[in-house]
Symmetry: D2
Subunit: 281 residues, 4 copies
């Protein structure tokens, strides 16, 4: 993800310093004008804005607070733009810790996969201080097809991102249950997909529906363990707010059942196998 | 619904006899060339094919098996095309009863509302004997934008239709839970809708999402009681097939809770109020 | 069940006429003084009160409304006491139909198995006209260890019975989920059962807990299909009343999954295998 | 809780040093022979075994790892017996940290309330090294009516305790749903409770059933927030083990809904109000 975003920043004429744990990944960007750094802390040094795009809360904590850490080198007034799909709790902690140091912080999680990042087709949902959002807007627009502002508190953007992933997981589960019933009724999942495509007219339904009807779950576009992580984070956000999400609870249980059945490395759409197994298929 | 379909059959050059319990509704079609009949039985007399488009199982049973009934006047070899969203059990009963009388039977439920019926924008999902499906295809195409064949047993088409409505109800519930959480996070449902529209690119999400964000549930496009009915029928079909549908069970409980709160005449998308109330909103 | 109840009525000094589809079962009671009849209609003829104890709604409908039917021979003022665990809808229909003929009707479903019926250890929950309940109380007390009056409408007793079975099914599911987790934690289900016995002090927990810990599901004390039937009826009663029962919905889905896995003839406590399978056990 | 346990240790002839954040609570035990200490660290100094009985994970972490901490004063070979209902994750951390210091660790959560602690009526579920369990058995027996050994890993005892609380919460929810339906059927919750008491024969059902039928939720015997905490911990334990617990998920959502409705300080059995509200009561 980060590579595509960095490339689009370079294309937009920005000066970019890059860091990746796997140095070769960073080196690939050198040819396009990026300066490769030996650590996140070095990359943040002297920058107006630093993007982080990492796997999960733990990697963000390491990069930001760990040894050779970003938070200790980022200048006063500079902005940390966190694109990771992370917990609302971590977003709040980052907001507090950056503020203590006179630094700025925006959450800016994205919808889209690496190919969308390369093609500048990401959707960015950001939140934070209005002035800072406006100051960073050119950067966010440089890496995306559209920028949405969720609110003035960075964690609000994370809540939106987690709810968005919940919406997608919901449609996967709905497909799974419908297909389990229809397969037992001797109706082809491909026929049902055609009907759904005509009805919904959505590329998301078309793509997931095809993976599901074809049972093409490997290699994973988005691993089931990551899907489970995001639903856990959505539930955690809802829990803080005392908002029950029974469908999210159902999704969590289905993902756990998929993990128990050995599907952790398959695509998250393979969750549909849980409904199939429960129907004796 | 029936009026729009009849009109499109007339436009396609078919001779059409019509019956409606409310005679004025039928009379309106006389000007366009339809012959108005005093009963369903009269309308079916001498026809090659008779369409029924009714509210529920009970009305189908009355029209087909009741006094002055369709099944007693429909000729041998003629076809009953049942467009009602009905139970798979009734579809099987109709198949059996028509077969006993040497009549043909197709289930052909549709996706779309009255305005789509007028505009020939319906989707038809049919099932039944292949030869009969082909014989009736011109009629089905005359009333729709696309025809899907689910299988050789009429009830399979009803299973697909019920699962389709389940898919829509699922996205309503997903919106409801996401919005409950986001409203408690002080994020606007309209902002979330914009993100979903960019992500899903689906007119169905756009339409329901707007009703939900605007809380515009009256007048009902599709009444909550009808939504509950369809989810009950989907669960009944799944029960016959021993296919658990936990998300459908959740939807049923949410619809019941909405009924208990007095929402029966509101649009089915008002189900989202249940999630909101459970979050204390 | 019926045999034990008839025997206790004879012991109480009542004159008893008996009918069973399997004549030998009825003959066994002749030696104890019962008059064996060739049909339910014959058994009801001239009786002050007729008990029915049958498998399900359908068998009640056959015995009451079918050929050689009870309702046509039961005298004016005589009482039909229906002990079957049946739907609230059928109870209402029976109340209406008996009333039309000047007959009386009580629902009086029981808790307990055949051995409890023999031992006069049943619990009877009855409902209906107060005067009739009092008139029949000696009969109900003759077959049970305790009689409860749920209300003035017969179907209320059925609602209580269905909710009671729901309570038992709920504890089975709770055991199933706890044991799935604990087995994966390498904790013995027998150890957990000991703790639960000390905590709950309930023979019901002890009996079901032992079946579950021993995985002794065959022969069935109460078949899984009957358990599913009762949960369906509980949900139907709740649906009529617009009272969501999400735990009952969960139980229904678990039972369906058990049916899909071939467990229909096992004891209903074998539902716990569903939770185990979902955990990969 | 701790006071009753300390008193029973004193009665058993043990020498006891006590610490409580609220010093008066500890002073009350001085008259019975306890030595009052100014900190947990002081209390642990020179002891063979130290019991901790605290509110939650966070308080355990403070007492054990915080300033003036137990872990720094407990002698090599001495045992920490943790009675708090805490997460399995914290139990594992404690096992590791104590082992690193040559100290022993047992988890020993209890079932029962303060009055049961006073009356030596607690149930103790312990787990840990077998030799240590045997060494500590006299202490555990001194404070309880029965001791259960769940396994060799301390966290297994916590898993059992969490599952036990899950069993109780499950019966509360079952009562809630049954009563919602029965109240709408005009059946008294007290009548249903009588039937359940006759059927279940359990003091736990009797006590909770009475609170529920009487709607006597304040003062709380066990606050709803603590119930939610325990269900969260049960779900976390199940999540680690990839064991879905859909009924626990349902309970969590019901507790959250109760919190959203302002019930946090009521007894956890007030969760039944959620089912009532969903039924429009």
């Amino acid at each position: 993800m980060g590579a595509g975003m960095a490339r689009n920043l370079l294309r937009a004429g920005e000066r970019v310093a890059v860091y990746n744990r796997t140095r070769e990944k960073a080196e690939a960007l050198a040819a396009e004008g990026a300066r490769v750094c030996p650590s996140a802390g070095q990359a943040a040094l002297g920058c107006e804005a630093v993007f982080t795009m990492l796997a999960d809360d733990q990697s963000v904590e390491e990069i930001v607070f760990g040894s050779d850490a970003l938070i200790s080198t980022l200048g006063r007034g500079s902005v940390h733009i966190a694109c990771t799909t992370m917990s609302t709790a971590l977003a709040r902690r980052l907001a507090t810790e950056h503020a203590r140091r006179g630094q700025q912080f925006l959450s800016a999680p994205v919808f889209g996969r690496p190919d969308a990042a390369e093609a500048k087709r990401l959707l960015v949902v950001t939140a934070g201080n209005e002035g800072i959002v406006e100051r960073c807007r050119p950067l966010l627009e440089a890496v995306s097809r559209q920028v949405f502002v969720a609110g003035k508190e960075p964690w609000q953007a994370n809540a939106v991102k987690l709810c968005g992933n919940f919406m997608i997981a919901s449609l996967i589960e709905a497909f799974g249950e419908a297909n389990a019933t229809l397969r037992k009724a001797d109706v082809s999942p491909h026929l049902f997909l055609e009907v759904m495509n005509a009805l919904m007219g959505s590329p998301i339904y078309a793509n997931y529906g095809k993976m599901i009807a074809d049972e093409a779950f490997s290699p994973a576009g988005f691993a089931l363990t990551l899907g489970l992580k995001d639903i856990r984070l959505a539930l955690a956000a809802a829990d803080e707010l005392a908002a029950p999400m029974p469908l999210a609870s159902l999704l969590r249980d289905q993902f756990l059942s998929a993990i128990a059945a050995g599907q952790k490395d398959l695509d998250w759409s393979s969750m549909v196998r849980v409904a199939a197994r429960r129907a004796g298929l």
